[in-house]
Amino acid sequence: MAGITPSQTVGPFFAPALTPGKDYPWHQPIANDLITPDASGQRIRIEGRVLDSDGAPVNDAMIEIWQADAAGRYAHPADQQRPNAKFTGFGRAGTDAEGRYSFSTIKPGAVAGPDGKQQAPHILVAVFSRGLPRHAYTRIYFADEAGNAGDPILALVPADRRPTLIARRQEKNGAPQIYVFDIRLQGDNETVFFDV
C-alpha cells in the first residue's frame, strides 16, 4: 500500500458541522452527553479547560472521549463482553470562550490490560484544535481509584508527570459527582500525551 492519508488540523471552523449545538442548523448525533436512560453505573460529569503555553484558554478546541461502560465493556465488536445498554461510550465537545469543555457520562469500570493486568478505570481522550496538525492522545484517570497504583499504562509515565492524567474530585454536595480534568497543551505541567 502507498501509506495512510495524512492528518491535517481540524482548523478553527469545524463547529457548524462537528459541534453545532443549538448555534447552527445541523443535526449532530455525537454530543457531550453520553448518558442513555438504560445505562447503569454512576453518573458523573467531567469538566475542564484547554490551555496553551501561556496558560491562555484555547477557545476553539474539540475534545473527543472514548470509554467503557460501568462494567468495563466497550460497545465495539473487538470487546467480546459488549454492553447491554445503548451507551456508546463516545462523546465530543467543543471548548467555549474560556476554553471550557464538559461531558456528562458514566464512570467507566476497570478494563483488561496487557499481560493479564487490569487497567484502572480510565477514558481515552483525543484533542483536536487549530494549531495541531494531528490530534493528541491522552487519558483521564480518576483520583479516587485505588487501581491507579497498579495501572500498567500510568506506570509507563514518569512519576512527576502522572498527576496531569488524574482528574480531581470536586468536593461538593449533590449529584452528579464532578471530576476536573484540565488539558495543558504545552508549558508548565504540560499534560502527558501518548505515542500510540
Binding site: 482548523g11 462537528l18 445541523w26 472514548w66 495541531l132 504545552q186
Partner: protein
C-alpha cells in the same frame, strides 16, 4: 476481525509542532510523547453507521430553500485500510467554506459573503465497498493571518472513524493544480512524500452531464488485519 495499528505508519503525519504553521507554536505539545502498547481501550472505538445518517445528509446543495451559489461538484472515493481493503459502514463527516471562501462559523470574519443556502456540513456512510459520495459546491480560497498575504488553497475538511479509536482521522482534501498549494504551511506540515495523498483527482468518468463536475478522493486509514506473524 482483529486489527493492528503499526506505529511506523504514522510517519505519514506531521509531528505536533509545525513551526511554519504559527498556531502550532504555543499549542503543540513539546514534552516527549509516552510510548504505550495498544490495549483493548485503543483497539476499540465508536461504531457509527447507517442509523446515524439521514437521507440527503450527503447533499450539501439541498439543505435550504434555494440552491447555493458556486460550481456544483460530486466528491467521492473509497475508504480503505492499510491492506487496501474497504472500510465498510463507517461514518464520514465533511465541512467546508462556501464558493466565496467563507464558512458559516461565527468566528470566520473574512470579508466575503455568506450564502444563505449553504451551511457547508455533510455526513455519509461508506457502502460495502468502502465507497462514499457527496454532492456539494467547490469551496473558495480564503486569506488567513499566518503570514503576509497568506491564502488557504481551496479545501474540504474530512473526519473519519474506521475500525477503532486509533484509526480516527481528521484531514483536508485539496484540488488538483491549485496554484496556492505550494505556499500553504498547513499542507506543508505533512512530510513531503505523503503530501500528494491529500490532493483529489479530477474524475471525468464520474461527472454528471449538464449538472456537476467530479473529484475523487480515496482515504487510507490506520489499521491492518492481524496475521499470525503479528504477535504484539
Amino acid at each position: 476481525m482483529t486489527y493492528v495499528y503499526p506505529r511506523e505508519s504514522l510517519s505519514a503525519f506531521s509531528g505536533h509542532l509545525a513551526p511554519a504553521y504559527k498556531s502550532s507554536i504555543k499549542r503543540a505539545p513539546r514534552q516527549p510523547l509516552v510510548i504505550m502498547p495498544h490495549t483493548l481501550s485503543e483497539l476499540t472505538g465508536p461504531v457509527y453507521g447507517h442509523n446515524d445518517v439521514q437521507p440527503g445528509d450527503n447533499d450539501l446543495t439541498k439543505q435550504h430553500e434555494g440552491e447555493p451559489l458556486g460550481e456544483r461538484i460530486l466528491v467521492h472515493g473509497r475508504v480503505l485500510d492499510e491492506d487496501g481493503r474497504p472500510v465498510a459502514d463507517t461514518l464520514v463527516e465533511l465541512w467546508q467554506a462556501n464558493a466565496a471562501g467563507r464558512y458559516t462559523c461565527v468566528v470566520d470574519q473574512h470579508a466575503a459573503p455568506l450564502d444563505p443556502n449553504f451551511t457547508g456540513a455533510g455526513r455519509a456512510v461508506t457502502d460495502a465497498d468502502g465507497h462514499y459520495e457527496f454532492l456539494t459546491i467547490k469551496p473558495g480560497a480564503y486569506p488567513w493571518a499566518n503570514h503576509e498575504n497568506a491564502w488557504r488553497p481551496a479545501h474540504i475538511h474530512f473526519s473519519l472513524f474506521g475500525h477503532s479509536f486509533m484509526s480516527r482521522l481528521v484531514t483536508q482534501m485539496y484540488f488538483p493544480n491549485d496554484p496556492l498549494i505550494p505556499f500553504d504551511p498547513v499542507y506543508d506540515s505533512v512530510p513531503p512524500e505523503s503530501r500528494a495523498r491529500m490532493i483529489s483527482s479530477f474524475d471525468m468518468h464520474a461527472t454528471v452531464p449538464n449538472w456537476a463536475l467530479a473529484y475523487r478522493f480515496d482515504i487510507v486509514l490506520r489499521g491492518r488485519e492481524q496475521t499470525p506473524l503479528d504477535n504484539d
